[in-house]
Amino acid sequence: MSWYNKRLAKSIWVFHISASPCNNCDIEILDLLTPKYDLERFGIKLVGSIRHADVLLVSGVINQKVAPKLKYLYSQAPKPVFVVGVGTCPASGCCFNDSYNITANREEVIPIDLYIPGCPPKPEAMIEGVAKLVEVLNG
């Protein structure tokens, strides 16, 4: 499906899900749309419905109340869809590993393809992550 991936890489539509974050990563993602970083010049835009999404951005350490909703949401996204985990929370749970309300294994809830670590990751790091994704899609 590499021809499909190449078409996809020209203009990625992104849907943002926050699953129990502290909202810092979410604000840095929104910062990417503002005039200083301006992600729209790469053809990347944020969409309002998951059915239009090519890439899902997940932020936050997924807590147990949100996990079933996240699974359902992932099932609604038309495949193929790529999942990017933004921040240290989806990568390793950050400092919340001792809590009673956290899922033990995030990959079982939603399979993540690309991690962008950082607390929060700088906008430049996020742009580099996206560029890596585009490179992989282009083969």
């Binding site: 109340k65 996990a67 749970g93 001792d98 009673y100 079982e108 809830v109």
Partner: protein, 151 residues
């Protein structure tokens, strides 16, 4: 300057042991008197309820309210200790202070306390929870830490 001496002499028969620090007054109160104490602090002195802390100790279940007197920057904290750990009950102050509704709901679900007279005793944070978590802050709770829970 704080008005602690005036408060202590006015409410002398309704409060117990006192710990006094600069701008902080912690005192014990009984369940029968808590509504009067809350009314004196909220309505007569014009204090604002900041929040309430609940904790299980070896003596019993303890609820500590925090009332802020903004004019002087001091805090008045009545403490109620419920000795019956299997069924802790006390009067709710939400009829006097509307702002106490949410924090009493949270204390109900986290520690299993019953607040008599509360208008909406539903859980606030763990309602509709897929794992049916009950009273996570008690010593004998049913929740397990992350390592043993399955995702």
């Amino acid at each position: 300057m704080d008005n602690f001496q005036e408060f202590i002499s006015e409410m002398d028969d309704k409060i117990g042991k006192i710990i006094e620090k600069p701008r902080r007054l912690f005192f014990d109160a009984e369940n029968e008197n808590i509504l009067e104490v809350a009314e004196h602090l909220f309505k007569k002195m014009g204090c604002r309820l900041s929040t309430a802390t609940a904790q299980e100790t070896y003596k019993g279940i303890e609820v500590l309210y925090h009332f802020s007197e903004d004019k002087t920057g001091s805090y008045y904290c009545p403490r109620i200790v419920m000795k019956d750990k299997s069924n802790p009950k006390m009067n709710s102050i939400s009829s006097v202070v509307k702002g106490a509704e949410w924090i009493e709901r949270e204390m109900m679900e986290m520690l299993g306390i019953t607040f008599d007279g509360h208008p909406h005793p539903e859980p606030l944070l763990t309602g509709n929870h897929p794992k049916e978590i009950k009273t996570p802050w008690r010593f004998n709770t049913n929740v397990q830490l992350r390592g043993s829970n399955n995702g």
